[in-house]
Symmetry: C2
Subunit: 624 residues, 2 copies
Amino acid sequence: MASTVEGGDTALLPEFPRGPLDAYRARASFSWKELALFTEGEDMLRFKKTIFSALENDPLFARSPGADLSLEKYRELNFLRCRRIFEYDFLSVEDMFKSPLKVLTLIQCLGMYDSSLAAKYLIHSLVFGSAIYSSGSERHLTYIQKIFRMEIFGCFALTELSHGSNTKAIRTTAHYDPATEEFIIHSPDFEAAKFWVGNMGKTATHAVVFAKLYVPGDQCHGLHPFIVQIRDPKTLLPMPGVMVGDIGKKLGQNGLDNGFAMFHKVRVPRQSLLNRMGDVTPEGTYVSSFKDVRQHFGATLGSLSWSRVSIVSLAILNLKLAVAIALRFSATRRQFGPTEEEEIPVLEYPMQQWRLLPYLAAIYALDHFSKSLFLDLMELQQGLASGDRSARQAELGREIHALASASKPLASWTTQQGIQECREACGGHGYLAMNRLGVLRDDNDPNCTYEGDNNILLQQTSNYLLGLLAHQVQDGACFRSPLKSVDFLDAYPGILDQKFEVSSVADCLDSAVALAAYKWLVCYLLRETYQKLNQEKRSGSSDFEARNKCQVSHGRPLALAFVELTVVQRFHEHVHQPCVPPSLRAVLGRLSALYALWSLSRHAALLYRAERRRSCPGRRDRSS
Amino acid sequence: MASTVEGGDTALLPEFPRGPLDAYRARASFSWKELALFTEGEDMLRFKKTIFSALENDPLFARSPGADLSLEKYRELNFLRCRRIFEYDFLSVEDMFKSPLKVLTLIQCLGMYDSSLAAKYLIHSLVFGSAIYSSGSERHLTYIQKIFRMEIFGCFALTELSHGSNTKAIRTTAHYDPATEEFIIHSPDFEAAKFWVGNMGKTATHAVVFAKLYVPGDQCHGLHPFIVQIRDPKTLLPMPGVMVGDIGKKLGQNGLDNGFAMFHKVRVPRQSLLNRMGDVTPEGTYVSSFKDVRQHFGATLGSLSWSRVSIVSLAILNLKLAVAIALRFSATRRQFGPTEEEEIPVLEYPMQQWRLLPYLAAIYALDHFSKSLFLDLMELQQGLASGDRSARQAELGREIHALASASKPLASWTTQQGIQECREACGGHGYLAMNRLGVLRDDNDPNCTYEGDNNILLQQTSNYLLGLLAHQVQDGACFRSPLKSVDFLDAYPGILDQKFEVSSVADCLDSAVALAAYKWLVCYLLRETYQKLNQEKRSGSSDFEARNKCQVSHGRPLALAFVELTVVQRFHEHVHQPCVPPSLRAVLGRLSALYALWSLSRHAALLYRAERRRSCPGRRDRSS
């Protein structure tokens, strides 16, 4: 029997237990249940309740507060929990396709319970699974069934000890031997060991291994994915020729067994090649269905975005948990007051509000963005699956890649800084392990690093924008993208001439004001970056040098401002839809304005400097 | 036999082992040995070598990389190591007085080995010890001997579960009973339990307990320190009426046993009162040698500064370790390059330099500041010990309090952000526990919190400056302080009229330029804060409300800019002394300029806004 939204204990959204927060809750200007329904939708709330109820009632998921869990035990427990999630079968493969947001919701629920569990599940079912699904062909479908029955357990082995970001420099090799119709997977030395691979440390039986493909005559066809068995599923002992192990304790996510592997001339059948992009005939001839390198590259970019878009969502849920802890603490902790006798909750201090409330707003804006980007990515994926090789599909791949490459840094850094602020805002109590802020911070931290270091990823986004401007300048092309995130740039000379005058504080409390300023800022930064880049090149810098010289002062703020603008824009539109319940409009509008103004304020120095240059066009700061 | 500075293995500063860093080291423009000698002095280098050699050769200090040490074991090991430090007797009580900087050096060496060890040693010997020494009298000297023989083990119990920052609201009581000549120490409820007390969890036998002193007739004389035995030194079992225990796992510093204690009518002899500030006669009459509350308060402030000044130093050593790790990694890690074949060390990227090098400069500037402030504090302490009750002594107490209250936040935040940047700048490898960046970050974190939340402490400093300005405005007083950190404010109207024009980038590379801008900024912020505060009061705000309303936008940046100015000023003077070896002048000058400009650049928006207001004096930003 489905539970009702309102009502008793079995309600979808039961009342909070009575307690010291009642006074603040009673003062709310809106119904939190209405807000939850609007934000999540009843269907998703029900799905979450199903998951959380199952975990709450299962002793395997019981927490042992204060227990000093060893690394070994924690990893074992996390594996058992991951297996149990598959047994619960919350989401069938069919449901995944029908309601893709549920995939994200499931991952989020697992992440709210424990990041290590979400990561373990995600790597096996989505990263490993979708690598096979999207890079393989019919002959690999049998693996997909085995994944969901957990007959095999998977990992994704791209990074090597000495190469993470620069995937072109990956050095594992796969030589084809026509005599036996096998590939020989080999790690030339320990620097080429696969490293950091989640699930590889203890539990994975199979890996998608990226290696340089060589056909007879020593001709290299670049990086390709192979499915390689690394352990015996019964004993978990390594397969012959495979040296595999755990890389040890990390700062966080210690339930996840990150591992390394070296391959000593390991032979795998020809069919192990995941052959969507290219294949090798039994005789040893390389064949590829992609004629166009750019098209091939666009298709690859799309698949890289999956993890990044998931990370946006996983980061934000850590921030949700941290901000909830810190705000509740602040509403009950009393310290000092107008008189010596009367102490007030620390939440009443403007300082505490300034520290915490912008992160509350950031959660709403970024959470909405992550869902919308996830749906955009689904569109891209469906195009890929249906064999769409149109220019629009390639452009969509590039646009999503640009947005994912900047929103992953934005979300992971906002969360990193937000959790740290929450930790400090809770004083000593925030430093006690049982209050969870440390675990959240440590578990969020790799979001800044994996799938590309944040600072390096931002370069992808600034390069995308610079490429569009070059196209416009050189070929007179319009700024147009499938998701319209860059369309406003078409009017950039006009936008740069605009001046903003607001006549009262109240006027600023509409996110449209910050939005206009953001558009101006992105246009300004894009033009400045373009000019600076060309100036560097004219001074004799190579393209590589010129980009490196421009990134700190220009490319980086450009990429961040662009993605912040997109987040603000999407949330602004979302909260100004006609379907927003009237009783929620005020609070959502305030959240939108607060996030927009707070984000914009971090660019204040740039805005002032730009204004100064405009008012004295002959004079340029010496620093530039 | 004393070792030589240069030379073989036994040298004071032996050569680095050959390795991949050689190439960079060979390119240095200065001799690192010369820099070390200038920065530390030969005497201190020898002292450090003595300590590190002892630890290196003692199996008790051997690390077990990868070992999964339980909380219990780690706490036990840390206690054994702390005891061993006393056995080594690196520094006698006499040496401490003769060469006070050696105290700081010893703490730093222990901190470089393990923050928990430094904290445990510091709390017992300095915090507990100096509380007895400076708050007690002749009758308590016997405790000092017992401390250094480790016959007792101590802790400092001020904070309660519900009150940290607001010490006036501490609720533990000490009622005097003339019938037995005893005080009755009592915790009214669990919210008044002593909490967070370092060493109290497992190992302390005695505590300095702060409680409200009541004499017969229920007259309260405010907070006073008492020495209370909490455990039997032989069995470590709690004393009757004392409920004491460990508060559990923290985000870091887990070798330190933080604890809680509740007292149920625990009787202690009258002599347990540390009676420097006030005493109770056997009959129950309260007597105090301090007539003047302000004088009493000034004396107390001085003793509060000890821990804060130590924290500045402890924070910076964490940053030293982190930056050394990150820079060495960056010099050897190669990723991407001008061509596909040639990869370059990541340190060559302007982005990586921009991320890391300012923190290297910050280490030198803040380390110098922390030593100089420590020596200032010694001067204050000597005045206290010699019974100096002059106005200068009181002013010195206030000035040091203001500097310590802002430099603790500056150093702990700079370190917090710096370690995080180092962690991220090392990519995935920075996330591996064995690379130590996580431990450094976690162990540094409480520096932002204990001895006062950073944001709250900054208010002490802004209040100090506002008080001086009020004194000047109302009484025509000069800005003068014993350490001269505020003397420049005397010329503040003139400074505010100055304009800065630098004609080349090279001109900025003298820290004098940033220093002048900083002076302008502090004058500007002080005037603005003062005006805003008065405006709030005129609009009907109470003093409490007005200060809270001004702190985020005015008081906080004022306090930070003031302490940054002082740090920059002291380092600027230090590196421009005539005694600086000529071969080091260039590198020290660059470090000074880099730290100054980098710090100043974080106030860029404020500087632009202020300039704009000056050029359009009639127009004020709506935001103000």
